[in-house]
Assembly symmetry: C2
Homo-oligomer: 297 residues x 2
């Protein structure tokens, strides 16, 4: 399941809690499109803001409505004991894999992060994807640590940030990491903007924010890349440049949440406060971009 | 209560949860020493790692054993609704003030942070201290935002990071902030290493990690500074340089937790995993420093 396109949906909220109906509708869009896997409760799915009971409910809804498409959920939390509980809950909910970032309050050391993965993988029976997301965890993995963690049982993939849209740079970077990890561990793009490059330069999987709401174009990019059709993959990604520009300026979450609100796929506001989707002039700009890209449907 | 020395104790844990007996013993040390206030459940008190029920219990224990010394607790959480619940719990537990950092997973905007403080202060009946801690929140307050938030009702103090041990630099920095905030809002040092300088250059309060475990020398520094005896305050702080050096290298939490473990005041390990107190050679170095500074008692 750690190949191709993994779509990360929002977890829409209302004042009362999880907006279950809207969440299921988002999952059904992904099923209709035929994505390769679903990354529920990723950063885009606001896992870090939800209670354990809310995370359990969302995991169960995702599995129930995924129509057999493998579901991965994040089990990240600042405390190891909570991560272990979340891993148990997720496995009982029937997920096919878990995603784990070294979420922190106090900055973590490399030894602490290794021990976290070591402890958690001893308690797992499903595969684990290492979630390297320095923008939220403020932890910087070294390549050496990738290598150590990738040897642990159940580790199946690494979600790698900061890969470049420049093919030469990305090819070089993937070639640095490959020899450090076992052959069965796949390497994935964490950023949508460079994903076409990553998939056409030997990356295995795209962990995608945009595909969580708009799966069609990302799927076309992924399938083109998988066929070796670099030109089509890059051309499709370039079409989305107005959206990438908004991602760069506001972060992908506030834009995707704004898009879902504009389209009426979720009620507004759908993010957990204090987070807010893009507002004002920038929201109008987003609405125009969606219109121009034919993403209003 | 936002003047003088505010001591931030550890919240010692065991495998089973809060080590209540040891926590109460730490509070009693602060009461015996006569600190000006107690900052339970600060970053040193691992608030970000605890369940609401655990935070409630620790707040109640602190108030119960503080013998009338004002207790402040942190109500920080990534989600506004949780902050509001924690504020209610804290007030019901009888705290004299709350401390609020803009804890984040997704990086916050200035507007989001302002709205968080605006919302929370509307629901408070006790004073609030603004906790600016970019090392854990990854949010950088601007001086303009300090000013806007300081105008909100109940805001009584700001815990300011990054103040310098250089008197000229600190005097200048405090002089920049003073005109932006109402007169009743006090300015405090968030870092132990510069606190003697801050208190002797016009700062009002020292929010102190070391005083949570070893209150005597920080109290002597504070009282000297309050009398205008800069030389004594600085000389006492300089004595602690071997400890400050360990703080710089490992962070104050891992050192103070290690010190509490070495002294047998808490059981080891006392931090929530994945965090670990200082180990190996550096732990031995810490033990020697405590011995040399006469802090083994």
């Amino acid at each position: 399941m750690f190949k191709g396109l993994s779509a990360f949906p929002l977890t829409p909220l209302t004042e009362k809690g999880i907006d279950e109906k809207s969440f299921v509708r988002l999952i059904e869009r992904l099923v209709s499109a035929g994505v390769d896997s679903i990354g529920a409760l990723g950063s885009t799915g606001s896992y870090a803001y939800l209670k354990h009971s809310e995370r359990d409910r969302v995991a169960r809804l995702a599995v129930e409505h995924a129509n057999g498409i493998p579901v991965m959920v994040s089990i990240g939390s600042v405390r190891t004991s909570d991560v272990l509980h979340l891993a148990e809950d997720a496995q009982r909910a029937g997920v096919s894999a878990v995603l784990l970032a070294p979420v922190s309050y106090q900055k973590l050391t490399s030894d602490e992060v290794f021990t976290l993965y070591d402890t958690v993988t001893r308690h797992l029976s499903v595969p684990l994807c290492v979630y390297d997301n320095p923008g939220t965890t403020h932890f910087d993995f070294t390549d050496e640590l990738y290598g150590r963690i990738a040897q642990l049982p159940h580790v199946a993939s690494i979600k790698i940030p900061g890969l470049s849209a420049d093919p030469v740079a990305t090819q070089k970077r993937l070639a640095e990491i490959r020899p450090l990890v076992p052959e069965h561990v796949t390497l994935g793009a964490a950023g949508d903007l460079a994903a076409a490059t990553v998939l056409t330069q030997g990356g295995d999987v795209w962990y995608s924010v945009i595909a969580g709401l708009f799966p069609e174009i990302p799927l076309a990019i992924t399938r083109a890349a998988q066929k070796g059709d670099t030109q089509t993959a890059q051309a499709l990604s370039a079409q989305l440049e107005p959206l990438w520009e908004l991602f760069r300026q506001h972060g992908s979450l506030r834009i995707i949440a704004g898009a879902a609100e504009i389209l009426g796929l979720v009620s507004a506001p759908c993010l957990p406060l204090p987070l807010r989707s893009v507002a004002g002039d920038e929201r109008q700009r987003l609405a125009r971009v969606l219109e121009e890209l034919g993403l209003r449907a």
